[in-house]
Amino acid sequence: MVPLSWYVVLSSSLFLIGLIGVLIRRNIVIVLLCVEIMLNAVNINFVAFSKYQHVIDAQIFVFFVITVAAAEVAVGLGIIIALFRLRETINIDEFNILKL
């Protein structure tokens, strides 16, 4: 039987990898991919605890996370396309119009 802690270790390391990816990459597409990694790390935790605690609700949450991920991708990629039309680049540090 696999101990529950192994899953927690797996998912937290996956989360850290995703987080580091989000923070260090310049390519905006990869940043979004790393967000997906983080979401999946959370999902692994949900499913593992669902199995080990016999709570089906956690799997429902995975369902909702996937839904939100899908919505995020649709909007995020729409934004990327719009930004690319505007700036001809997909490097995130060149989108700094947030600074006034």
Partner: protein, 171 residues
């Protein structure tokens, strides 16, 4: 070292390595491919955790829809990133990463994980499969969040269309 542990070892290692490759590759297509690998292995992990339905959904939605969208965008834009490949703040991030890893390790080390709980027998309730159970709970207890989720998707759909249509004017 049981069979399950071996399976977990394989899936876990594959997941971590492919996730590292996602961050590591310069070419977004390669990153997307390693992410696809990761998704598939996570689906395998779900099967190991007896969540077959989620495994199917993981493949169908993440691999079949979300990632294909990424590929589409990457191929449509088809730009190679110019200049640097990492952000200027990378050293700070790695410092943070080390700190976070220590913290998480400490947390996990200090936590006492319960072994698997015994299943609670519900007299009179038939022992349903994973899919049926999810359906039961999703369409009764979580019906309202489910509807909200559909609304979220609708809004995202409309938003994506508006954004991608490209009639926006900045400044």
């Amino acid at each position: 070292m049981t069979m399950q542990m071996a399976m977990f070892g394989y899936f876990g290692a594959a997941i971590v390595i492919s996730a590292l490759f996602v961050v590591y590759f310069r070419n977004p297509i390669y990153s997307a491919m390693s992410l696809l690998t990761m998704f598939m292995h996570i689906a395998g992990l779900y099967v190991l955790l007896e969540a077959e339905f989620l495994a199917g959904v993981q493949l169908l939605v993440y691999a079949g829809a979300i990632l294909v969208l990424y590929l589409f965008v990457v191929m449509l834009l088809n730009v190679q990133g110019r200049g640097r490949f990492l952000q200027k703040q990378t050293p700070a991030v790695f410092a943070l990463g080390i700190l976070a890893a220590i913290e998480v390790a400490a947390l996990i080390f200090h936590t006492r994980f319960y072994p698997e709980l015994p299943a609670i027998p519900h007299p009179g309730v038939p022992n349903l499969g994973n899919t049926e159970t999810i359906g039961m709970v999703l369409y009764t207890q979580y019906l309202f969040p489910f509807e909200i989720a559909s609304l979220v998707l609708l809004i995202a759909l409309v938003g994506a269309i508006v954004l991608a249509k490209g009639k926006l004017k900045f400044r």
